[in-house]
């Protein structure tokens, strides 16, 4: 038996060694995305956006004549897989850069790996720790959550709100947001009187909504989450006849969540990138043309609404492509080129990177929005 | 002092009174048989003695020790071995390994010392193996030592089971229908073996259907019927006992 076992082991090894990928002249770009599993609502649109953009670039003859070869790895939101894939992409596929991962937890696990291997990483995850402290090869495209928090608090100040309840989903996104909310609240003289974390697979949250509602001090609720279950909070609040303002995060930037919350989504206030209201932007907005194009192409190709999540991956690949176009197929030069990129319009805002800022977006990347008649519209105050 | 003392043992399953007020003693060095028609409560009695399940009331005393609340493994530890009516081999193990399991209470190696194969376990392991081979030889099946036990013939499995029980070095051996399913020659062979075991100084208590075997080898016989003891005597007396004859005439 054991002889057979060891023989088989040997055979498997031999086969896998023979399968060494053929070398090509293409520019190799790796992507680690949670296409399936618990964060598939992020990884799905991200992977599709990447495929779309790469197809477009290659159809136009590639960048300076060389085509992009995109290698997407599905991490299913598991850090251990992200680690394995990152090493694989860096050493074996010798990619120029890695896009992703979709979640903060995974990104933090491979931050040091990419830094050590001097391979640029363009994360699509939200948490601020990814770029703070700055690692020279690590960038991220989603807007900083601290800016989102500040946007929300500024709006609250205008409305005269000082006591709030915080509900967060139990994902990396929710965790980081909860942290920022707690840290920044004193700056604005806002007190968090209730805080709860709900499961990403919650079915119904009427009990916890009832609990928070019973606290008469609560003047507004912040529901910080990126998971589909965030729509349940809105529904349960409105069913309970509770009419305090409901603020959400930029994780609400997917029209499917509005559809899921239905009538309960009306009046939700949240900061987000301008992709969601591209068609209502003034013509001189630097992002307008690109937002309209991305939206049109994505929706035509995949028959689903474009979300800001897919936009993060779109930004990552277009930033990378711009850097490659400038300096060619070299990791170190590409890194420097990204860091020097200024006034580059993307779906998330206008990027201006620097040695200290590897996110490149300022607070104006966010626009406060609300939901009216089932559609995202710019929020103009009450 | 009696080796095994059973006092007013009772077992009820719901409404069924499987064993009713049974008392008897087994003296050291004898072969004692419990006979009775099907459903007389013989196996239930055995299971209570060996600790498989507790009696409803009454007591079992072994070597002066009350067995109440003792689990089967504790009873085995005290020096009582048993076989099963429908042979329970350890499948996937060789005949030798089966017998070696029987040496369990006579050896000590634990998890850690086994894993790290401490030097003193080598000696123990060798002793276990030698003793087990010896027992297989005693029962005349040493040539099958390395055969998968479940693939042996029925009679050979019986012998392995017997060797396994003997490996415990018991003071008392409980045999649950050792001749069940055997032909007339094999039965005679089993009878010879049991006598041999007794001659080694091991007391034997057996439950058996086969009257000829029981009459041949037993020193004393207890007769059960519908859970009650109806007679206890020497074999010739049992053969004459009108009540026993009445029961067995219906059957045989």
């Amino acid at each position: 038996m054991k002889k057979f076992a060891s023989k088989l082991l040997m055979a498997v090894m031999a086969v896998s060694l023979l399968a060494v990928p053929a070398l090509a002249e293409n520019i190799k770009v790796g992507a680690i995305l949670a296409v399936t599993g618990g964060a598939s609502f992020l990884g799905g649109p991200e992977a599709r956006s990447l495929e779309m953009v790469v197809e477009e670039i290659n159809a136009k003859g590639g960048i300076n004549g060389s085509k992009i070869e995109l290698i997407i790895k599905d991490s299913a939101a598991s850090p251990e897989k992200a680690i394995s894939f990152a090493k694989q992409l860096i050493e074996e596929d010798k990619v120029l850069a890695i896009i992703g991962p979709s979640t903060s937890g995974e990104t933090m696990k491979i931050k040091n790996i990419c830094e050590e291997a001097e391979t640029p990483l363009l994360s699509c995850a939200a948490a601020e720790v990814i770029v703070n402290p700055v690692a020279s090869y690590v960038f991220k495209t989603p807007q900083k959550d601290s800016f989102a928090v500040k946007k929300i608090f500024m709006e609250m100040k205008k409305m005269g709100i000082s006591k709030i309840a915080v509900l967060a989903g139990n994902t990396g996104f929710g965790k980081a947001g909860k942290q920022q909310l707690t840290d920044i609240a004193p700056e604005f003289g806002i007190e968090i009187v209730e805080a709860e974390v709900y499961d990403k697979k919650s079915n119904d949250l009427s009990a916890v909504v009832a609990k928070i509602k019973a606290n008469k001090d609560v003047q507004a609720v912040v529901n910080w989450s990126i998971v589909p279950a965030q729509a349940i909070v809105a529904k349960n609040m409105r069913q309970a006849g509770w009419e305090v303002p409901l603020f959400q995060s930029h994780g609400f930037g997917n029209i499917k969540y509005v559809e899921a919350a239905g009538a309960a989504a009306e009046g939700i206030i949240f900061p987000a990138g301008r992709l969601l209201i591209a068609d209502t932007l003034p013509a001189d907005n630097p992002q307008k043309a690109l937002l309209m194009e991305y939206k049109k192409n994505y929706e035509a190709k995949f028959n689903e609404s474009a979300s800001t999540f897919g936009g993060h991956a779109y930004d990552a690949i277009t930033i990378l492509a711009a850097a490659i176009a400038e300096v060619g197929n070299d990791r170190h030069k590409v890194r420097a080129a990204i860091e020097n990129l200024k006034n580059f319009p993307g779906t998330g805002g206008v990027f201006s990177f620097s040695a200290e800022d590897h996110n490149g977006l300022d607070i104006d990347a966010f626009q406060m929005m609300t939901v009216k008649d089932g559609k995202f519209v710019a929020y103009t105050g009450k | 002092m009696a080796l095994l003392e059973i006092k007013q043992l009772n077992k009820r399953f719901g409404g069924l009174h499987a064993v009713n007020d049974v008392s008897f003693q087994v003296e050291p060095g004898q072969i004692k048989a419990v006979i009775g028609p099907n459903g007389a409560g013989k196996t239930t009695l055995f299971n209570m003695i060996s600790g498989t399940f507790p009696p409803t009331s009454g007591s079992v005393t072994f070597q002066g020790r009350d067995l109440r609340g003792k689990k089967p493994y504790q009873v085995a530890d005290l020096g009582m071995a048993r076989t099963f009516q429908n042979i329970k081999m350890f499948n996937g193990m060789t005949a030798l390994e089966n017998v070696m399991v029987g040496r369990h209470v006579q050896s000590n190696a634990g998890f850690l010392s086994s894993m790290f194969r401490m030097p003193w376990t080598w000696k123990e392991e060798r002793a276990i193996r030698d003793k087990s081979m010896e027992l297989l030889a005693l029962l005349g099946i040493e040539e099958h030592a390395h055969t998968d036990a479940s693939s042996l013939a029925f009679g050979q499995q019986r012998a392995v089971e017997l060797a396994r029980a003997l490996a415990l070095e018991p003071t008392l051996l409980l045999l649950d229908e050792p001749a069940a399913g055997l032909n007339i020659y094999e039965t005679a062979e089993v009878g010879r073996l049991i006598t041999k075991i007794r001659d080694l100084g091991i007391t034997v208590l057996l439950v058996e259907h086969d009257m000829s075997l029981v009459m041949d080898i037993s020193d004393e016989i207890v007769v059960l019927c519908f859970g009650e003891k109806i007679a206890e005597d020497l074999p010739p007396a049992i053969q004459q006992n009108p009540e026993v004859i009445k029961i067995y005439l219906g059957e045989e």
């Binding site: 618990g38 251990e80 897989k81 050493e91 790996i113 | 498989t52 493994y73 040496r103 209470v105 194969r117």
Partner: protein
């Protein structure tokens, strides 16, 4: 000694793989080989529990996570705020505390990796004893449910506690210096020694378990699997042996968790997930339940393929399919199919058919 010899061919394969990869300049395969080795360490432990002691555990990822999370948290979370407490002082006085500065120049005070490893593994063992005593009294679906429930609780706790990093898990876990010159770390430069550390551990684990199976204890365990009742009648304390096996397999899982976490430099809640536990059970089943070599082989091969992303987004689907197919057609494991024998039979039949025609 004989058993020790039986893993020598495996050792040869391990060295062979290293030499082969280094000759063909494909050393990057060693990364996933290292990770697979750690998962396989858990799997051979589970194999003893499921295959030999006959107890299913749908919560073994929980023990892996206890090991990994505790070791990660203790070596990463700074004790600076607690540096004046009695406990920290006590730990310090026995040399279990490391102080220094982190990457960004802040003062750091953490538990040393060896101490953290010890605490993590002992905690896993203790928890295994505490839950094992009542759980192992259960049978069938009840046992499956109880172990599954245990796994879910660990997952939920990891996901809910700030100390364990909630959904993000723990990152920037430091390397684990085993001896001078031997360090578990994911640095590209340490790859070869880590490959040998992982496989060395796996080989040692394998030798220990093979020793165990071929001993008084192993025979008793196999006896329990064959017939609980008969084993009891032979004086085997079945419940104690089941418990000890449960603890042993928990310790294997925890050690695997500790090492892999230091190798990866982090751990996340997915390591505690139900799917992980199910996957381990699947691998043991595919390997043939009571077959340590099968479990080892399948553990390495399937984890290796999965970690390389060979199955793409069908990863879970592949495992689901494997589970069903194996349980339907080869409940004794894929190795039981004995392909050569089958092929011979087929050939012979074909020959006979042809002869029949003539």
């Amino acid at each position: 000694m004989k058993k020790l010899l039986s893993v020598l061919p495996l050792l040869a394969v391990v060295i062979g793989v290293h030499l082969l990869t280094s000759a063909t300049d494909t050393m990057y395969y060693l990364t996933q080989m290292t990770m697979s080795a750690y998962y396989s360490l858990l799997i051979i432990g589970l194999c003893v529990l499921m295959g030999y002691a006959g107890q299913i555990s749908l919560g073994h990822a929980g023990f892996f996570a206890i090991g990994g999370y505790l070791s990660a948290a203790l070596t990463t979370r700074s004790l600076v705020p607690y540096q004046d407490t009695a406990l920290v002082n006590l730990l310090d006085s026995v040399g279990m505390i490391l102080s220094g500065h982190d990457l960004y120049g802040e003062a750091m005070l953490v538990v040393s990796p060896w101490a953290a490893c010890g605490i993590a593994v002992c905690t896993a063992a203790l928890i295994a004893v505490i839950i094992g005593i009542p759980v192992l009294k259960l049978k069938g679906h009840y046992l499956a449910m109880a172990t599954l429930g245990f796994g879910i609780i660990i997952y939920r706790v990891a996901l809910a506690l700030e100390y364990f990093g909630e959904a993000d898990g723990i990152s920037e876990v430091p390397p684990f210096p085993l001896l001078s010159g031997l360090t578990i770390s994911g640095n590209f430069s340490d790859r070869i020694q880590n490959y040998y550390i992982a496989w060395g551990l796996l080989l040692i684990g394998m030798v220990l378990l093979l020793n165990l199976m071929d001993s008084r204890v192993g025979r008793a365990l196999r006896g329990i699997h064959g017939s609980d009742e008969a084993a009891g009648a032979m004086g085997v304390n079945t419940s104690r042996f089941k418990l000890q096996t449960f603890v042993l397999s928990a310790v294997f899982a925890a050690i695997a968790g500790v090492c892999l976490t230091h190798y990866n430099g982090g751990i996340g809640p997915s390591e505690a997930g139900v799917m992980k536990s199910v996957r381990y059970v699947a691998i043991v089943a595919v390997g043939g339940m009571a077959n340590l070599w099968g479990a080892l082989l399948m553990g390495v091969v399937l984890n290796f393929l999965s970690l390389r992303g060979v199955f793409g987004s069908y990863d879970d689907a592949v495992f689901g399919l494997i589970l069903i197919l194996i349980m339907l057609f080869a409940p004794n494991g894929i190795l039981s199919l004995n392909i050569r024998h089958r092929l011979k039979q087929l050939l012979r039949r074909g020959k006979q058919d042809r002869e029949g025609e003539v």
